[in-house]
Amino acid sequence: MSDFQPGDTVKVGTRFPIGHVRTPYYCRGLTGEVERRVGTFKNPEELAYGRADHEPLTLYRVRFRQKDIWPDYKGLDADTVDIELFENWLEPAA
């Protein structure tokens, strides 16, 4: 899996499992910029089912432009949403 640096452009996975995930619906498939690498944490998608015996994942804060999320957004181009996302949901933006 890629190791991203602040400023890298990343794309969020487009997928819709019924299980426990911490990637909000509204940002799936969208492109944002890595704001910081937070550190490594156990995977919530495993912890949710009582499984903790796994390697932790890298967690990032990814910044999205509001106008990229909501086409009808009313506000500045500079308005953003920062979301914490795990590495398994991120890929390099084309």
């Binding site: 819709f16 019924i18 299980g19 426990h20 909000p24 619906y25 509204y26 919530p44 912890l47 949710a48 089912y49 009582g50 903790a52 999320i69 909501w70």
Partner: protein, 114 residues
């Protein structure tokens, strides 16, 4: 979309004005909060991880989710995880709830139906 988007995942959905409501937390809400914190401590396993509780909340069904208050969701979800793990049994839970209600009645208090 309403199928692939789960009910707790509500960012960006239309909704009414934010009512600036607050309430004094009741003793059972403080107790629920403390139970969750204690069960989450590494020294107790942990017997409960926050993502297990969230998962249980996300599985209770949209109508129940909207009907319950925040700490009602917490205690219901935590209880389900304890049942799954066999920390106590359904039989023990049912009897314990009735014991609490009986104590309330014996003290002259009221017990809500339902």
């Amino acid at each position: 979309m309403t199928t692939e988007r789960r009910y707790h995942d509500m960012g960006g959905l239309p909704a009414g004005p934010v009512e600036r409501t607050e309430h004094e937390f009741e003793p059972w809400e403080h107790k629920t909060d403390a139970i969750v914190r204690l069960l989450s401590e590494p020294g107790r396993g942990p017997l409960l991880r926050v993502d297990e509780m969230r998962r249980a909340i996300e599985e209770m069904g949209g109508n129940i989710y909207d009907e319950l208050t925040y700490y009602e969701r917490w205690i219901a979800a935590t209880t389900n995880v304890m049942l799954e793990k066999g920390v106590f049994s359904v039989d023990e839970l049912g009897k314990a709830i009735e014991a609490v209600r009986a104590k309330q009645r014996a003290a002259g208090g009221e017990v809500a139906e339902g």
